[in-house]
């Protein structure tokens, strides 16, 4: 596989209900890379992730995994959805939920093997969730559930892990723990990660690349390459300032091409 990217998105256009929501999307992800999929709410991040999972048809373009067209339920790709609402009466322990990451799509009468549970326990150890392996999944906190969802996605040994807003609804401490956990997954298990978020600052220390979505279009590259006033202004279609303060990045709407100040018109507009 030398020379072939793990994931390659080429000239992809996506329409929802007849409306074009993503145009000319191009980016690639290599093995063991941590990539941030950054954009405001409604920018099309979830739609793009659904395309990568084979759940959303494209109008044009190709999605390639190992140089081959992406198929639905590709075992090379793991997924952590934006939100899973575990009802309080769902009779599933953490250990059994993670095991569904291996056999949840299998039909038949066969019982789950000892080997499956060994893999599950190994994965729960690696995400530091072994302590609550026997608890009902609905009894866990948001941060604990996120760890379990990550274990569920990783237990089938994917090469690429897609995470849809995993930091949303987490307190800052839990969010930092999840980021460090994912960084260790990239480092220790050599799994590539594509994580969507509307706030890039918590990810800056661990991100190798960024895929920035705005206005239905995408810019990709290293953070230094993409998070620049010229690149983001071209993406948004009007002038944007990038401010760097105490190691944090702020993307702020500036004056547009008509000379009007978006900030003056909409003082609260902060795009990032």
């Amino acid at each position: 596989m030398v020379g072939i990217d793990l994931l390659e998105v080429v000239d992809v256009d996506v329409a929802l209900s007849g409306r074009m929501v993503l145009r000319d999307v191009n980016f690639r992800i290599d093995h063991g890379e941590f990539t941030g999929l950054i954009g405001s709410n409604g920018a099309g991040k979830t739609t793009l992730l659904r395309v990568l999972l084979g759940l959303q048809d494209v109008v044009r373009g190709r999605v390639l995994v190992h140089g081959e067209p992406m198929t639905r339920s590709n075992s090379s790709v793991g997924y952590v959805p934006q939100k899973v609402l575990f009802e309080s009466d769902v009779p599933v322990r953490v250990r059994d939920f993670v095991a569904l990451g291996i056999d949840g799509n299998r039909y038949g009468l066969a019982r789950r093997s000892r080997h499956t549970y060994e893999l599950v326990d190994e994965m729960l150890e690696s995400v530091e969730a072994a302590a609550f392996a026997n608890r009902r999944i609905s009894s866990l906190s948001g941060g604990e559930q996120q760890r379990v969802l990550i274990a569920h996605a990783l237990v089938s040994k994917p090469e690429l892990l897609l995470l849809d807003e995993p930091l949303a609804n987490l307190d800052p401490g839990s969010a930092q723990e999840i980021i460090q956990l994912l960084h260790s997954v990239v480092t220790n298990q050599h799994v590539a990660i594509l994580l969507s978020a509307h706030e890039m600052n918590p990810l800056l220390p661990v991100m190798d690349r960024v895929v920035y979505v705005a206005n239905g279009r995408v810019a990709s590259g290293t953070t230094e390459e993409v998070v620049q006033p010229e690149v983001l202004s071209a993406l948004y279609g009007h002038h944007v300032d990038v401010l760097r303060v105490h190691g944090r990045v702020l993307v702020v709407a500036g004056g547009d091409e008509r000379g009007d100040s978006l900030v003056a018109d909409h003082p609260a507009v902060v795009l990032e």
């Binding site: 009779p91 569904l100 990451g101 949840g104 799509n105 009468l109 019982r111 789950r112 549970y117 609550f132």
Partner: protein, 303 residues
């Protein structure tokens, strides 16, 4: 004491033995299918299928066909209609269920009226709507047993994709689960379970066995396999106690007329539900955390 509780001749009575066997079979099927019905939030769809089963059962009675065939056949046709209208999306589910429920109730009204004209009695109507497990002949047992096994095996085969889809349709779709196919397969099994239950306690009351014991079980256990077993046990207990009480009731008033077994079964289901909820509430109040363990208590399992 035993003689005071159980009237003489209870277990030597062939009708009672048939009723006990039939009740056990349909209770187990209802328990297993009902767990997924509750988890998938399809209790209303299950209830609508009982109305479709009523139309099927009354249609079969009018045409002098097997009641089991009518109940199950009607349910399966209803499940197909609900899927065609749109039972997959939550938003469409209530609409589809309501449309089918209304149409089926109208058909039932017509068929039951025609039966009353045909027989000049309301016995069949009472039997179809509210059941009469003591009138089911032993010749029906093999058919019930066969259909029960088919449904149980069917649920076992699809249990993991079904559970995945019940927990998170999005996650299941990403793992390659064909949600539509699994949903249709489950609706057919649900229709069959409703049909079987209708034989025992009548089509209108079959929801009680389908929803009551599973809803109780889900309150107190944390594993699917345990929930399935507990729901089945609670269902069998409710049915058997209902049969015992109904048999006993022939001697309660000295008139030689007993009370309907369906009433007792549904009453038992309600008592179990209240009792289990009280237990679950006491447990929650105690808030006992399970200790952290690294050792696995069980290495293999069905789920």
């Amino acid at each position: 004491m035993v003689r005071w509780i159980l009237e003489p001749g209870l277990f030597s009575n062939g009708t009672v033995r048939t009723a006990l066997l039939l009740g056990a079979l349909v209770s187990v099927v209802s328990g297993v299918v009902g767990i997924f019905t509750v988890l998938r939030g399809q209790s209303f769809a299950g209830h609508a299928l009982t109305d479709v089963a009523t139309a099927g059962g009354s249609g079969a009675a009018l045409a002098s066909l097997s009641p089991l065939l009518g109940f199950v056949g009607g349910g399966v046709i209803g499940a197909g209609a609900m899927d065609a209208i749109g039972v997959q999306r939550v938003k469409d589910r209530d609409v589809a269920t309501g449309v089918v429920l209304g149409a089926a109730t109208g058909l039932s009204a017509l068929f039951l009226y025609l039966i009353t004209l045909q027989t000049s009695t309301t016995g069949s109507t009472q039997s179809i709507l509210f059941g009469s497990i003591f009138t089911v002949g032993p010749s029906t047992l093999p058919d019930v047993a066969l259909l029960s096994v088919v449904v149980l095996v069917g649920v076992m085969v699809i249990r993991r994709p079904l559970l995945m889809g019940s927990i998170s349709p999005e996650l299941a779709a990403a793992r390659g689960v064909r949600l539509r196919m699994v949903g249709i397969a489950f609706m057919v099994m649900l229709a069959a379970a409703v049909g079987l239950s209708a034989i025992a306690i009548g089509s209108i009351l079959s929801t009680a066995l389908l929803i009551g014991p599973p809803a109780s079980a889900l309150k107190v256990v944390s594993r699917l396999s345990h929930a399935v077993v507990l729901a089945s046990v609670l269902g069998v207990m409710a049915t058997w106690l209902g049969i015992v009480f109904a048999y006993d009731s022939y001697y309660w008033f000295g008139s030689g007329r007993g009370l309907p077994v369906s009433f007792f079964v549904v009453a038992d289901v309600l008592v179990e539900f209240v009792a289990v909820n009280l237990v679950a509430r006491r447990r929650r109040l105690r808030v006992v955390e399970e200790p952290a363990t690294t050792a696995m208590p069980e290495q293999v399992g069905w789920i």
